[in-house]
Symmetry: C2
């Protein structure tokens, strides 16, 4: 299980962190429409009641249930309504309900996000299936979202935790729609063991299973960016040539710059705004006026080399910037080996409409 | 003189920092439409040529000239065109040209920003007059903008520098339109001494002059926010109750949150998004799940107390959120004395239109 690093935690996150045993996890109870965040002690009681109601409905112990909520922050969640809904939902549980689950957790999502894989491990074939939600309030550490992964492989809790942690860092930690960190982010890997295939630590099975989980989560993460409230284009920015902290700050600054994002929306290869974002991320120190050795390429076309504009084919650049998937490559110096990537969406009118006209 | 802290500095900023003597400053030469930033060594040569051309036109030495540019980043600036324009401009110089200057430096500004004051100091009356430009790419340290202040008081360069530094911190350093740091920010105080009034260090004159400069710059800073590309509403957020670094981070996170800004635009008192921004600014550490003692009030109406939603008059809140000037008060704990403020604008369709449809 992995959760948001927000300092303002939603009640279901606190309750799952404090009261759910990863080793015994059997049930996930989730609701959308209300985040049960900034709801104080009464909110914690509701999340505990939700956990208990789900346990009763599924015939397990409360500490075998994880709870997750997504929706509006700061509105009390009605425990009785949730309890009654869980009892009704339990009656309808069936083995092929993955699609219904995916749709049930959607909020401002324009499309359902699910993926599944069947993987041949040396010890046998296992299946992975995942559902995610998320479109806005999406940023690092990690994106606003719920993601549930089910597998019929058998993994020790420590192995599952290790693999999920690594894969979340390479997927949901690398995306941004609007630079906003949710109070409710939750990713859970639940292992039934039904396949009879045991994935042992440090085995070839573990490596292969990890690769499959990685592919699954990156797929879902990119789906979330593609659905970034009103997104028309998706960009992958790669930043290299600086210390790890610097490349990370630059990549985030570019991905979250409203000027870069509106230019992306408008298919405008206005790389001056990328330079601006880099300058803001790497502040000058004292009286040092040495120009930054900044290189920028858009879709492989160099536009800035060593801090200065370079001639390029304007028509080819405009055509490249009009694509649906765009790549920016940025080097902030020649000397350091660190490199990072962030996937992000553009900023268009629909984002404003969704977020100004509705309480989400 | 005060300049952007961006790590990607525009050529005119570098040239003014390296080649202009504050003590001898007599002329400011500025252009709009082209920022002369990310233009490499050729850009530096153009800025030096611009300084020399302005010096020739005004009959002073080059080191008595500051240069400033604003506009698109990454496009070469034509030195010959600038030189010819400066020669033409010099012929038209006249004592009442402040308005023409204000209009000449505008880019995406919807209205001209100027202010003037006449101040009775113990030693005599002095005048201050200021022009600013700026609407987008506006954030801390400090806002994207040019601001020129002229006074007929006589101040030693050290005194002028000290007062300008303090006043910039309380004005242009406290505003944000879109969280974007420009490569060209420049604020210059130029003192002619024509009034014959000498403002001595640590005198009552200095205190009064400083108050006047402070009022002038805060007025201009708020004008810039009011003009934040497409802004309909302006918000002042006050954050208190944490360490200095924490209240600053929270205030910036709220001011730059696209979710807060779109809610502000939509007159939606959706304070859950303020809570979200605070949580993102103050990440949880390790396994500490203690809820943050978060208080939020909008226009004096408490909506969140000690981390939890509180009942309030919904109609009164909606009416307050529909105003043109809104105040958010946020307390992130009861214990620390630090407090800060940031003025910011909303995020609406016009910002997207301006920045997606035009190359600015």
């Amino acid at each position: 299980m992995r959760f948001t690093r927000s300092g303002v935690l939603a009640a279901p996150v606190i309750v799952t962190l404090q009261r759910t045993r990863a080793a015994g996890l059997r049930v996930i109870a989730a609701n959308s429409g209300n985040a049960n965040a900034a709801t104080g002690l009464p909110g914690l009681d509701v999340a505990i009641a939700m956990q208990a109601a789900a346990a009763r409905a599924a015939g397990v112990q409360p500490d075998q249930v994880a709870v997750a909520s997504t929706g509006v922050i700061g509105v009390p969640l009605d425990a009785e309504r949730v309890g009654a809904a869980l009892a009704r939902a339990a009656e309808k549980l069936h083995g092929a309900g993955g699609d219904e689950l995916t749709e049930a957790i959607m909020t401002t999502d324009a499309f359902a996000k699910r993926a599944s894989l069947s993987v041949k491990l040396p010890s046998g074939t296992v299946r992975l299936c995942a559902q995610a939600k998320g479109a806005g309030m999406i940023e690092p550490s990690f994106a606003t979202m719920l993601c549930f992964v089910e597998t019929d492989a058998q993994l020790a809790p420590e192995t599952a935790d290790l693999l999920l942690g690594v894969c979340v860092k390479r997927s949901f930690d690398r995306i941004s729609v609007d630079g906003q960190l949710s109070t409710n982010d939750t990713a859970i890997l639940i292992c039934s063991g039904a396949s009879g295939v045991v994935v042992q630590p440090e085995s070839e099975d573990e490596v292969r299973f990890g690769e499959a989980l990685d592919a699954l989560l990156r797929m879902l993460a990119i789906m979330i960016v593609r659905d970034g409230e009103g997104a028309k284009r998706i960009c992958r920015v790669i930043v290299r040539g600086g210390h790890a902290g610097s490349v990370e700050r630059c990549a985030r600054a570019i991905a979250n710059s409203p000027l870069v994002k509106t230019a992306l929306h408008g298919a405008d290869p206005n790389w001056g705004r990328i330079a601006q974002a880099v300058g803001a991320a790497i502040r000058r120190v004292g009286s040092d006026l040495t120009p930054l050795a900044l290189d920028i390429a858009i879709e492989g076309i160099p536009v800035c080399v060593n801090g200065a504009a370079v001639a390029h084919d304007e028509d080819a650049l405009r055509a490249a910037a009009a694509g649906v998937e765009i790549e920016y490559e940025v080097a902030i110096g020649p000397t350091h080996p660190a490199e990072t990537e962030v996937f992000f969406s553009d900023l268009g009118h629909e984002y404003v409409t969704i977020n100004a006209e509705y309480t989400t």
